[in-house]
C-alpha cells in the first residue's frame, strides 16, 4: 500500500481507527475493573471481556440508533461499544446511586434503554429470547431497527437458543444472533460440552451463518455489516465470531483448567495489538497511538474517581421502586 492510500485509510474518521479507539476503551475499562476487583472496590462477580474487544467494536459499528441489543454476563464490551456513559457504567459496577441502574444491576444486568441496550444478563442464553422479542417489536412496529442477541458458545447448549432460532426463522425477524465463540463454556472447553456446530444448527433452520475471525476488528465489522444488511432486508442471521477469553470465567478465577500453551498463544491473537499493528502498517505513528491509549486511560481513571466520590444508593427509595410508580405510566 502506498502512502496516499495509507493516509486515506487512516485519515479523518478511518473506520479502523474508530474500531481501535473503541477497543482501547474496552481494554482500559476491563483492565481498570480487574484491578478494582482485586482491590475489593467492586462487589460481587464480574466477567471480563479482555481479548474479545474486536467482537464488541465490530458488531456495534454496524448498528444504527433504532437498533437494540441484549447481552450476556460478559457484556461490558458490548455496552461500551454501544456508547454507554462511562461514568454511569463505573458507578453502577461500584454500587453507587448515580449508577446507570441506580446500583441495582451491577455488572451482570447493566442496561441503557436509551441506547437500546436491553441489559447484560445473569442467565446463560436468556439474552436470546429477549432480543427475539425486541426484533418482533421492531417488525410489528415497523421501526426499521434490528435486534442483536449476543451469546457465548456456552449458550449453544441452552434450549432457549434453539427455540429462538426456530421462531426467528418462522417469522423472518430482523435479528442477528451473535455468538462470541471463545471456546470456553465457563470452566469447561466447549468441545467437551457441545456436540453440534452452530453453522449446522443455523442451517437446520435455514438461517444464514457467517463465520468470522472475531479477533480481527475490520473483518468482524465487515461481517457485522453484512449480517445487519441481511437482517434488515431478509431476516435472521447467525454471526459466529471466533475469539479469545484472556481472563477466567469470572474475575479471580485462577483458570487451573487451562494449559500454559493456550495461555501463551493468546497474546498472538490479541485483537488490540493486531489493530495497532495494522494502523502502524497503514502509516500511523506509534506515538499518536500511544497518545490515544493515555487519553483513554485518563478517561477511565476519571470515571473511577467520580464513582468513588458518588453517594451510595438509598435503601428505602430502592424498596419503594419494585413496581412502576402510580401515575408514572
Amino acid at each position: 500500500m502506498n502512502s496516499r492510500t495509507a493516509k486515506k485509510a487512516i485519515g479523518g474518521n478511518s473506520r479502523l481507527l474508530d474500531l481501535h479507539r473503541t477497543m482501547l476503551l474496552i481494554r482500559a475499562t476491563e483492565t481498570a475493573l480487574s484491578k478494582l476487583f482485586a482491590d475489593g472496590e467492586i462487589p460481587g462477580f464480574i466477567h471480563l471481556s479482555l481479548g474479545q474487544e474486536a467482537v464488541a467494536a465490530g458488531v456495534c459499528s454496524a448498528l444504527g440508533p433504532a437498533d437494540t441489543l441484549a447481552t450476556t454476563h460478559r457484556g461490558h464490551g458490548h455496552v461500551i461499544a454501544r456508547g454507554i456513559d462511562l461514568g454511569g457504567f463505573f458507578k453502577e459496577l461500584m454500587g453507587r446511586e448515580g449508577g446507570q441502574c441506580k446500583g441495582r444491576s451491577g455488572s451482570m444486568h447493566v442496561a441503557d434503554m436509551g441506547l437500546g441496550i436491553l441489559g447484560a444478563n445473569g442467565i446463560v442464553g436468556a439474552s436470546v429470547p429477549l432480543a427475539l422479542g425486541s426484533a418482533l417489536a421492531h417488525q410489528t412496529r415497523a421501526t426499521g431497527g434490528i435486534a442483536v442477541a449476543f451469546f457465548g458458545d456456552g449458550a449453544m447448549a441452552e434450549g432457549a437458543l434453539h427455540e429462538a432460532l426456530n421462531m426467528a426463522a418462522l417469522w423472518s425477524l430482523p435479528m442477528i444472533f451473535v455468538c462470541e465463540n471463545n471456546g470456553w463454556s465457563e470452566f469447561s472447553p466447549t468441545a467437551r460440552q457441545f456436540r453440534g456446530k452452530l453453522a449446522n444448527i443455523a442451517g437446520a433452520f435455514g438461517i444464514r451463518h457467517i463465520h468470522v475471525d472475531g479477533n480481527d476488528a475490520e473483518a468482524t465489522a465487515d461481517a457485522a455489516r453484512e449480517a445487519a444488511d441481511h437482517a434488515r432486508a431478509t431476516g435472521p442471521v447467525v454471526l459466529e465470531c471466533m475469539t479469545t477469553r484472556f481472563h477466567g470465567h469470572f474475575e479471580g478465577d485462577p483458570q487451573k483448567y487451562r494449559d500454559s500453551e493456550e495461555m501463551a498463544a493468546m497474546a498472538a491473537g490479541d485483537p488490540v495489538a493486531r489493530s495497532r499493528a495494522r494502523l502502524i502498517e497503514l502509516g500511523m505513528a506509534a506515538a499518536d497511538l500511544d497518545a490515544i491509549v493515555s487519553e483513554t486511560e485518563a478517561r477511565v481513571a476519571a470515571a473511577v474517581e467520580a464513582s468513588r466520590a458518588d453517594a451510595l444508593p438509598d435503601f428505602d427509595a430502592t424498596l419503594a421502586d419494585v413496581y412502576t410508580p402510580m401515575g408514572a405510566h
Binding site: 434503554m113 441489559g119 444478563n121 429470547p129 432480543a131 422479542g133 412496529r141 421462531m167 413496581y323
Partner: protein, 324 residues
C-alpha cells in the same frame, strides 16, 4: 349482557384492549387459527390479523422471553400459556427477566405484559394439567398476580392487567370458563389490589379467590341455615392483596378461614393467615383456619380428584371448627 360466559368475557376484554391500544398483541400456542385451547381468542385473528394475534410454536420459554423483549420494545404482549402447569418451562423468563427488568435497570423501562394461565382441576386432566401454582408468583417481587372469580371481574381485571405497566400473571380457573354471569355493557374499571366483599356476614370471614369463591358462598348459605353468618371476601388480586379489606372484615367478625383450591401447605392462605395473625391478633377469637388441597399432586381419577379439590363442606367444617 346477562348470561355472558367467563371465557367470552376474557375474549371481549382482549378484543376491547386491542381496539383501545394498537400496541397490544397476543401470543400463544394455537391462539390464532384455532382460537385457543379454551377458545379465549376465538375470532380475534380475523379481526386483528396475524401480526397481532400470533400463533407460536410450542416453546413456552422463548414465548415468554420474547414477550419481555417485546414489552421493552414498545408492545404490550398478552401471552396465553395453554395450561398453567406449562409455565414451569418459562420460569426464567417470568421470574428472572420479566419480574426484575424494571427494577434492576433502575426504572429505565417498565415491562407491560400479561401472562394468562388457566389453572385448576375439575376436568380430570391429571397431575400436569390441573395445578394451581399462583403462590409461586405471588412470592416474586416485581410480578402482580390476579385471579378473577366472576364474569365481570374476568373482563375488568384483564383490562386492568393489560393497562398495567408491570408484568401481570393472570390466573383463570378452567372450571369457570363455561360459567355464565352478568357482564354490564360498560363494565366498571377495576383497580388491581382491591378485594370485594362478595357476601356480608358477622360471625366469620371467609377469605378466598378464584373458583373457590363459589364453594365459599355455598358454604355460607349452608352455615346461614345453622344460624352462622359468614362474610365472604373475594381477593381478586393476590399480589398485591387487599390487606385492609381482609383485616377490616376480621375486626368485625373476629374469626377467619382462608380457602383456596391450591395445595394448602406454603400456599397463598399461609401468607394471609400469617398477616391476620400478626396484624389482627387482637381482633381474633380463634386461630385462623386454612382450607386447601391436600399435599399431593392433582390425581386423575374422577373419584380421587373430586375429593382432592376442597368443597363447600370442607369450608363449612373449618368455620365450625373456628367457632368451637
Amino acid at each position: 349482557m346477562a348470561d355472558t360466559r367467563y371465557i367470552r368475557a376474557i375474549n371481549k376484554a382482549l378484543a376491547d384492549a386491542m381496539d383501545a391500544d394498537a400496541s397490544v398483541v397476543l401470543m400463544g400456542e394455537d391462539i390464532a387459527d384455532a382460537g385457543g385451547s379454551f377458545k379465549a381468542t376465538r375470532g380475534l385473528l380475523d379481526r386483528f390479523g396475524p401480526a397481532r394475534v400470533r400463533d407460536t410454536p410450542i416453546s413456552e420459554g422463548a414465548i415468554v422471553g420474547a414477550a419481555v423483549g417485546a414489552a421493552l420494545g414498545g408492545l404490550k404482549p398478552v401471552v396465553e400459556i395453554m395450561f398453567m402447569d406449562f409455565v414451569t418451562l418459562a420460569m426464567d423468563a417470568l421470574v428472572n427477566q420479566a419480574a426484575k427488568s424494571r427494577f434492576m435497570f433502575g426504572g429505565q423501562a417498565s415491562v407491560p405484559m400479561v401472562v394468562r394461565l388457566p389453572h385448576g382441576g375439575g376436568l380430570n386432566a391429571g397431575p400436569q394439567h390441573s395445578q394451581c401454582l399462583e403462590a409461586w408468583f405471588a412470592h416474586i417481587p416485581g410480578l402482580k398476580v390476579l385471579c378473577p372469580a366472576t364474569v365481570e371481574d374476568a373482563y375488568s381485571l384483564l383490562r386492568a392487567a393489560i393497562d398495567d405497566p408491570d408484568p401481570v400473571v393472570f390466573v383463570e380457573n378452567k372450571a369457570l370458563y363455561a360459567m355464565a354471569g352478568d357482564l354490564p355493557e360498560e363494565p366498571a374499571r377495576a383497580s388491581i389490589g382491591k378485594a370485594r366483599i362478595a357476601r356480608q356476614g358477622s360471625d366469620v370471614t371467609l377469605v378466598t379467590y378464584g373458583a373457590t369463591l363459589f364453594n365459599c358462598l355455598k358454604a355460607a348459605d349452608a352455615l346461614a341455615s345453622d344460624g352462622i353468618s359468614a362474610e365472604v371476601v373475594d381477593l381478586r388480586s393476590l399480589q398485591p392483596w387487599d390487606k385492609e379489606t381482609v383485616l377490616g372484615s376480621v375486626a368485625r367478625t373476629h374469626r377467619a378461614v382462608v380457602a383456596h383450591e391450591a395445595v394448602r401447605s406454603f400456599g397463598v392462605g399461609a401468607e394471609i393467615a400469617a398477616v391476620i395473625g400478626e396484624e389482627g391478633f387482637d381482633d381474633l377469637d380463634a386461630p385462623v383456619g386454612r382450607v386447601g388441597a391436600p399435599f399431593m399432586p392433582v390425581p386423575f381419577a374422577r373419584s380421587l380428584e373430586s375429593r382432592f379439590i376442597p368443597d363447600a363442606a370442607a369450608i363449612q367444617a373449618a368455620v365450625v371448627a373456628s367457632l368451637a
